[in-house]
Homo-oligomer: 671 residues x 2
């Protein structure tokens, strides 16, 4: 590249972009770690985007109708940190840049949404940002259809790298976006032909332009260092009626000795090379110093959107009050006031009618009363709508000609679905839930972890949650997936025993503001076990005594979900032998762990043997069986210690010994 | 479709395909579950493939040079079961068809490789079969380059459905195949435009033809019910120098009332509709009855390859004996005799030199002695070669012009990599290992579960296994991933403490025949803790006393990996206070659990308090802390109970309290 020519042709642009490059270089040198090459290579694209296209107000980074900027190539985090510092975001003074990657800094190794207002999402695990962006763009469409374009009308811009495009989740994402013609989604691909291992061609020769076109996208190819081309491409991208990809040919680590090499991808810390690079950029300033004229140009960019933001506020204030309240309530993730009463009334009715239902069907019944009073819910399924029971009559289907539709046919794309749901909550204004088989939490796993890390209350409706799935066999039968979900910090895993606990689980899931929930639901029918109506949400305490012992308490059976009724039947057998047996239903271990000692001791007192019952692996159970007031040698677990098999469900429960008889025998053996 | 015209134009073909259709219908009716539509729709393609192209010998289904047939759309399992029955595979008598989806049958809901010789892989989780197939095709290339085309020269045929193509892993798979011009891979896409939720267009409008071409594939589009077109397309596909995709336009549930509907995708059990369908197929026979003339035509197909197989055996016998032995040894997954002595010598040297190394670097040192004596190993990384330390000098790089290369640059495709590794072992003759960051086991998870379920000894080299990764932050720091890996049945999770345990872990991983291994390795340097050379592989017992207490044993510290040296330092602190402390290194919980009671009791005797130390979540630990001979109230755990943060590693260990001081304090608090 002829950098002199670039500088001469666009001197103002060049110095603004130079500020990004220099701050990046300085921060990585100070941290002695990080990724220099990508921010340096994409500085021109980012500068034009922020200067001429991105609708934002640095003083109000959470303004609801702002454009969203997503750095999918999250390792290039100094790009976004430099930008936020330069435009005058108050959370990013120069000290933050100097503290890049240090303890307590907002400038973490990868962008983390919970550390700063202007960081829309957490990226770094590749492909997640671009997949989130699909959810951002869908949420915008839904909100716009709901509230009108005067109040909701913004774009989602993404910078994605080769890594993002190689990850499979990106294919799921771009085909969802293409199918739904999410025209306000614009992806800028940092086409630099470099990955960590070497040139992209070492591992990939995909024609990305053709690939995106095959998915229904508009594609432009430009020189990613030419501000005019960048500007023209962004202008054109906003006019298409499909999502847009702009392939930006760039040089990683432009102007540095490591330019166009995989070394340039990483931390460029050599002092001499840094000096030479700054010379090439015509940047004679001290480390971390941005001269006043450049800084003021950037700050003007940061203030550019203030008028638009104020005008929006005026328009917003003209909306009918009820609409405004709903808009803000949804944005704040507050459930409607009616939710609690609705759930109570539903529970009362169910205790009275005591239906025998699979909890997936219970879940549908609950959604039938929730969805009408929570217009912010958006449901979906990864091509298992009839099996996951996630669709209720009133939702409508999200589609090109029905943007207000609240049900998404995600297709066979569990990962893309989960990642898009993250994007929806991050965008704000909608509360997504969607389903697949519990076993396929495996496919969604990277995004489910990010729901937890990002503190986003996504609801995962995971049905067919054990060998109770039956004939489909071990590829479809979860055994370790409850343990996997429970092992993840900041995740609530609910395994309700009947329709009433299912309603309680939904209430809890939909009142979370910072925690995702996994609802583990059965394929097979279950009796109602909570026959006496309780106004209180008993699942909120995680576990509770469902039926106490008659006579002296010798045994405590602890069970979840479909195994609660097994435990109740085992109790009948034990009580018939005059063995006093308590049954504890434990729909949510995480919430039980949060209770105080006194409550936990009341539910699980000492002096009785314990048997845990769950059609999954034991991992995670020992804290309740051996811990608390239990005693080694006096506890057992009835569950799975292998994969399942293909056969009718009832036969499988017998084969693997998850029966009332086994539970009673094991309990007796401990006495 | 004009079925009469089809029948008239190709009467022999029609009756052979009719047998597949009728058996499928009958079996699903008998089971009252399963998927009828796909086998009925793809019967024509499968018939032509088996009759005219697939190289196989039904009497010898494991003949090494057979073509591989992979049913990626595994829910259509009755297609493969019908075919195997019809061609006379001894494992599939008609009773198996009648027992479809019943307890103990080979005819499980989805094809399971471990139930029958002719089933090459386990499918059902969508996208896995097509991703496995890339590994099959790579293994064939590597073997052909190694042993010559006289001994290895076969194709991999795949039937994939819309679900396979929507899953992100298929994009990873097809772009790997395209990059490497795996020309002997031929995918037949069942283009029936139906998924469970409805028409494919509900969720997807991707131009699959353009998408595969963008990935470097040859694509043909045909009528999937026209035997001449099918035959011609397969003939042409074998001649390309790229992988081939044949888009077969088909009608799901052809000839049934549910044809071309999503209902047709599932179990078609209606008796009247079945009768009508059989009439449309011109199939007047009783359920499960295949008339002699049709059966004999099929059996002739099953025997068609016997001559080729015998000729191959003759050619194979002419290979030099050493080559034959290596070929067979690798196929049988037997390690070379030298392995044990090589590891012993290596360990001795390491005990003497006591290097301070990250275990990822230890792993590289081990591979440097293993790879030269195990020509069957194939290494790789998902674009983290320098970080995973998986590449040794002698491997060479697998590429279009170097098919004997034993190192694969997988690109940023953890899932595709893992699934391809499954395919490699399933193919036979190679032993794959590959790496990524431990945190990204999330991306590979669906395939890792299948390694375990399919009993394939893949080795996952997962580095950067804790907050010790440092500045990259919580998106890259595993905390729950040890628990996740350990929760999975039939998986060995190794977390070695130093170079010597790393060598032992590799030896154990490479001697497994039916169990995958996860090697959890550090980024950060660790001291050698096994300073006294032991010939025996101590890690084989899962845990062992590394240093015993001096004086009365009051405390047992149990640690893994990087925390073993933390435990040793804590022991120094405790012993300085005259508190006798044993340190147990526990590199593999699963192997320890397999030891007899006496050994376990020797390592973890009662009468001492216990503290577990591992920079991960507690889940999975309580069995060793509270269980065995431990006692509630007298155990504690030092580890993580939240996500990590971005900062230098040493600071993170202090922040989260994973230090010798904390461990010593916690132990004292228990006394």
């Amino acid at each position: 590249m002829d950098l002199k020519a670039l500088a001469t042709a666009h001197p103002d642009h060049w110095s603004k972009a130079g500020a990004i490059r220099a701050l990046t270089l300085d921060a990585v040198i100070a941290a002695n770690s990080g990724h220099s090459g990508m921010p340096i290579g994409m500085a021109d694209v980012a500068t034009v985007l922020f200067e001429k296209h991105l609708k934002f107000d640095a003083a109000q980074p959470t303004w609801p109708d702002r454009d969203r900027f997503i750095l999918s190539a999250g390792h290039g985090s100094m790009l976004i940190y430099s930008l936020l510092h330069l435009v005058g975001d108050a959370q990013f003074p120069i000290e933050e840049i100097k503290n890049f990657r240090q303890m307590g800094a907002r400038t973490a190794g990868h962008p983390e949404n919970f550390l700063a207002d202007a960081i829309e999402t957490t990226t770094g695990p590749l492909g997640q940002g671009i997949a989130n962006s699909v959810g951002f763009a869908m949420a915008e469409e839904i909100q716009r259809a709901t509230y009108g374009a005067k109040v909701v009308d913004h774009h989602t811009y993404v910078i994605a790298g080769d890594g993002c495009l190689m990850e499979g989740v990106s294919q799921e994402a771009i085909t969802i976006a293409g199918r739904h013609k999410l025209s306000k989604l614009i992806v800028m691909w940092d086409n630099n032909n470099i990955t960590i291992d070497g040139p992209v061609t070492l591992s990939d020769t995909t024609d990305q332009v053709a690939r995106f076109r095959a998915a229904g996208w508009d594609v432009q190819e430009i020189d990613g260092h030419n501000p005019d081309e960048i500007d023209a491409a962004l202008t054109a991208a906003k006019k298409t009626d499909t999502p847009s990809m702009i392939a930006c040919k760039t040089h990683i680590a432009l102007g540095h000795a490591a330019q166009d090499t995989s070394k340039g991808h990483g931390a460029l810390t050599d002092a001499d090379a840094a000096e030479a690079a700054k010379k090439a950029w015509d940047w004679p300033h001290a480390p971390f110093h941005v001269p006043e004229d450049v800084k003021s140009q950037w700050e003007a960019i940061g203030a550019r959107g203030a008028d638009a933001r104020r005008a929006w506020e005026e328009r917003f204030d003209k909306m009918p009050r009820a609409k405004r309240e709903t808009f803000n309530r949804a944005l704040d993730l507050d459930p409607p006031k009616k939710l609690s009463a609705t759930i109570k009334a539903f529970k009362k009715q169910m205790s009275e009618t005591a239906p025998k239902l699979a909890t997936r069907a219970s879940s549908e019944k609950v959604l039938e009363v929730i969805n009408p009073i929570m217009p912010e819910t958006v449901g979906g399924s990864a091509d298992l709508t009839g099996s996951n029971n996630t669709k209720t009559a009133d939702l409508g289907v999200f589609d090109i000609d029905n943007r207000a539709g609240r049900y998404v046919y995600w297709g066979i794309r569990e990962h893309g679905m989960a990642s898009a749901m993250n994007g929806m909550v991050l965008h704000g204004g909608v509360r997504p839930y969607s389903g697949t088989f519990m076993c396929f939490t495996d496919y969604a796993r990277p995004a489910m972890r990010l729901s937890a890390l990002m503190k986003q209350p996504v609801v995962y409706v995971m049905t067919h949650d054990s060998i109770g799935l039956g004939e489909d066999g071990p590829t479809h039968q979860p055994v370790e997936h409850l343990a996997i979900s429970r092992s993840t910090p900041n995740t609530l895993v609910f395994r309700p025993a009947d329709t009433i606990e299912t309603a309680e689980a939904w209430e809890l899931a939909l009142t979370q503001k910072e925690t995702p929930s996994v609802l583990s639901l059965t394929r097979q029918g279950l009796p109602t076990v909570r026959l006496e109506h309780k106004t209180k949400n008993l699942s909120a305490q995680g576990a509770y005594t469902l039926v106490d012992a008659e006579g002296k308490r010798q045994v405590i059976l602890i069970a979840t979900g479909s195994e609660v009724s097994v435990a109740l039947a085992a109790r009948d057998l034990l009580q018939a032998d005059d063995i006093g047996t308590r049954v504890v239903s434990m729909p949510c271990m995480e919430l039980f762990a949060q209770q105080d000692d006194a409550y936990r001791k009341r539910v699980l007192p000492g002096g009785a043997v314990r048997v845990g019952v769950e059609a999954g692996v034991r991992q995670g159970w020992d804290q309740w069986l051996l811990g608390e007031r239990g005693k080694w040698g006096k506890a057992d677990f009835v569950g799975m210690d292998s994969f399942g098999a293909s056969a009718p469900a009832e036969e499988l429960f017998v084969k693997y010994g998850i029966t009332a008889e086994t539970v009673a025998e094991r309990a007796k053996a401990l006495l």
